[in-house]
Amino acid sequence: MKTRRILRTPLGIAATTLMALVLLTAIFAPILWGDAAEVVDTDDLLAGPSPEHPIGTDNLGRDLLLRVLVATRLSVFLAIAATVIAVVAGLILGVLPLLLGRAGKPATWLVGIAVAFPGLLLALFFAVIFGSGWQGAVLAVGFAGAPSFARLCQTLVSAVAARDFVAAARVGGVGRLRVLTRHILPNIGEPLIVNATIGAGGALLAFAGLSFLGLGVQPPEYDWGRLMMDGLAGIYINPLAALAPGIAVVIAGLAFNLVGEAAARSLGIEVGAGPVRRLVRRMPQPSASPAIDASEPEHADTVLDVQNLRVSFPGPDGEITPVRGVNLRIRRGEAVGIVGESGSGKSLTALSIAQLVEHPGEVEADGLRFLGEDLLHGDEASHRKLLGTSLAMVFQDPMTSFNPTKRMGSQLAEVASQHGDSSKRDALARAVERLGAVRITDPERRARQYPHEFSGGMRQRAMIGMGLMAAPQLIIADEPTTALDVTVQQQVLNLLESIRRRDDVALLLISHDVSVVAEVCDRVLVMYAGRIVEELPADRLQEAAHPYTRALLAAVPDMQTDLNRPLATVPGRPIDPAQLPHGCAYAARCPLADAHCRTADPELTPVRDDFRAACWHAGEPLPNLAADAAADPFETAEQVEADQVGAEQAGAEQFGAAESIDVVVEVQS
């Protein structure tokens, strides 16, 4: 079955064909032409190409083409033999630490040292010991390859040995040798064979090298390396004599390498970097919802105005649109929160507003104005300057959001020296001052340190300080506290709050955590499946009309929550943005849903004064909320799985998997 999987890829087909060709030649060439390749023709010594001898003859007038073909068997055989020696020796060295425990340490140590020396050097060393001739060379190439296989075995063995079933077997009193043969070897077989195949290609080249140096196969026997050596002497007369065996070496080496690579890919042993593609079904085209705010006049103090924002990505079966028609307006000094489960498109909304969505993501909108400037059209350089000075971003994970190889001070200073006119020195002074402003003690010294010397909370404060290098009008904080300890979360929220109060900076806070948003924001937007489904004042969340918002709120435990019962989650799994239904996206999970909900998609409409909801049943009482809320524990696991799917597709919602369980964990601790 696995072999068939290899054969299905173009690489696999090419590799297998080439390999078959090499092996067939190795088997049949000596039978067919073995004698003909020995025929001496004293009339035709060292001749160039001719009709009888397509690539010429050697110094005894023997046909070189036949000799190259016949040499396939010895060359391939020797390479395989050397690889077998390397793998066996490597395996023995590699499992010693497991078999002998502490007594096996010297083996690990010696392998660690030997592996640093290049194989050819080791091969020369062993060639001296074992003497020239193919037997000695096989041992030399084999032993030279042993350290790297030993290292590979050690890594594989210790990875498998750390797994639960091995630990269980050992606790259960199973002997070391038995653990090795029954549990470990079967599990490392596949990667070992794949690497051995690639290793055989290397052995082939090493062998050709040794023979070429005259230290491998000795006359009257001949392999490709030996033929090359003989051919080099006559390169003025007949270059093909040296090149043809060289080309044979390359072809055979490629065959081994490609088969190994193809096998590795189809077995998933070492998958190369590349975007993970998934099968996504085509979704119904998003009906562009009318811009509900369009009629309202734009206030002078509007910082951000977004009309019908859409973000789409190409999928194998057509576009997927994780954000479909978001309207948003933020005034000076206002704090707006966007909540929703992961995959709801909230982070992508933030990134697209900040113009940080990259190819192949596509951002469209009927309007996207920041401080009155149209970000969709116009001069990119002036946008760059505007965004660089007036928009500050705070990302979710402070551990990974700083460049690990640059000092903190210069990472902050960069903003000022890029967009302002300040000199390097002034920019750095400003960076130190800003670090102090975000309550980092001893900012002078801290500015000279690297990110890894900062704690998580300090880094997030430094990130905010970086946003304050210029004079921001809007801070977009995408899950700014999710990666932090509960105690540190509050510090960061307080800091954001004090900046907002002092400088009248607007804040767009993205979070999955309703309680965080309720604490910091004036207004809350609830997102589901790429749309805003409800908009309401943060201090009146309990009056929410949309069943989804109410389910989110019910999932937040409070002091009255009975911790002996499973914590509540929003029932059902978040929707896959590639598989949107025709009606309301929440219908499948909604206790109020009826036939109408499944066919018609509701728009965001006013419910009462400051409330807007996209729901046909907004505000209706929920049946049996308590029973639904106490979802069975398996739901959470399912949801996490679905979250990962959503996160992969949206391409921007990182660490999404952790989010939905976070709600539970945070409150428990």
Binding site: W109, G112, I113, A114, A116, F117, P118, G119, L120, L121, L124, F125, A127, V128, I129, F130, G131, S132, G201, G209, L213, L215, L232, I235, Y236, P239, A242, L243, G246, I247, V250, G253, N257, G272, A273, L356, R384, K385, G388, M393, F395, T400, S401, F402, N403, P404, T405, V415, Q418, T441, D442, Q449, Y450, H452, E453, S455, G457, M458, R461, M463
Partner: protein, 333 residues
């Protein structure tokens, strides 16, 4: 309040970090270097003793009389107890005495001193050329093919780099001799004369590693370009070239630096083959002759020099790694 409470603990923990980083590195790396050195010296000493049969008889041929073989054994000290020989060998090393070549009767150290510059200059040049080809190429292809762009470029790049890296350096050398030496007559076919004699050996040595390295740099660069801190740099609205070169490249390079060390030491060994293609008067052609004529003291000496070169390269690479990437504390391996 909480900020003030946590700050002292943090500052204590990170006090004097740079110094302790280098101290820790020096101690650990120095320890490993010494251990490797000991293994290398012992291996080169034991080499002659591990040879099955009588190496001197094998070296002098079946026609040499027993007395001559015996006197040669005596001269090489092979009749002493093994530990005494080991002691003498170590003593010799410290005084720069690597023994006398059986073939030329010259001190081994003199031959090495005479041949080393040709090999070292070849290896260093080849390495520089490989780096100068690989890094710009890898970065450019990464940028042009990131996020599903430039599918054809990616295919062509991967295909040609796989092909280039699977052609052995000595075959490249032979092909070079034929094309540029024999057919076109542009470059010298063999020997070390002027600067132009370097071109072919250096290219033969560097093209394979350059192809491998460019592929690694591209993959690392693609990974780094997706990282959060690059997104931060983009959020700072830095110009693209600054993001690529100033933020992404240093991280991509440190990730591949260890591999670069391996390539460089492989390149050192590669000189042996390439020198033999071009009749280059370096250590590589000398050691092959010495092995063929069973001139064991000379072989031992040159093996030691190659091994030492590899150890120095690995240590230097680790030191660069610690300088470039402050997080590195040199993992034990």
């Amino acid at each position: 309040m909480t900020a003030a409470a946590t700050a002292p603990a943090e500052s204590v923990r990170s006090a004097n970090r740079p110094q302790s980083r280098w101290l820790g590195f020096t101690l650990r790396r120095g320890g490993r270097l010494l251990a490797s050195l000991w293994v290398l010296i012992t291996a080169s000493f034991l080499m002659i003793h591990l040879i099955p049969g009588d190496p001197i008889r094998a070296a002098m041929g079946p026609t040499a009389s027993a007395e001559i073989v015996e006197s040669r054994r005596e001269a090489l000290g092979l009749n002493d107890p093994l530990l005494l020989q080991y002691w003498n060998y170590l003593q010799g090393l410290f005084t720069g005495d690597l023994g006398t070549s059986i073939g030329s009767q010259l001190p081994v150290i003199d031959t090495i001193a005479q041949r080393l510059p040709a090999t070292a200059s070849l290896a260093v040049l080849a390495f520089l050329v490989a780096i100068l080809i690989a890094i710009p190429l890898g970065v450019a292809v990464a940028v042009a093919t990131r996020r599903d762009r430039g599918r054809n470029l990616e295919l062509g790049f991967t295909g040609s780099s796989v092909l280039m890296s699977s052609i052995p350096d000595f075959l490249l050398g032979v092909a070079g001799v034929w094309i540029f030496g024999v057919t076109l007559g542009w470059l010298p076919v063999a020997g070390r004369s002027g600067p132009e004699s370097y071109i072919m050996p250096v290219l033969a040595l560097s093209i394979g590693p350059a192809a491998v390295l460019a592929r690694i740099v591209r993959v690392e660069m693609l990974g780094v370009l997706e990282s959060d801190f690059v997104r931060t740099a983009r959020a700072k609205r830095l110009p693209a070239w600054r993001i690529y070169l100033n933020h992404a490249l240093p991280n991509a390079v440190t990730a591949s630096l260890t591999l670069r060390g391996l390539l460089l030491s492989a390149l050192v060994a590669g000189t042996v083959l390439v020198e033999n293609v071009f009749a280059w008067p370096g250590l590589g052609s000398t050691i092959v002759q010495a092995i063929q004529t069973k001139d064991y003291p000379l072989v031992q000496g040159i093996v030691l020099v190659y091994g030492l070169g590899v150890l120095i390269i690995n240590t230097v690479v680790d030191a660069i790694l610690v300088t470039l990437d402050p997080r590195t504390t040199v993992a034990e391996d």
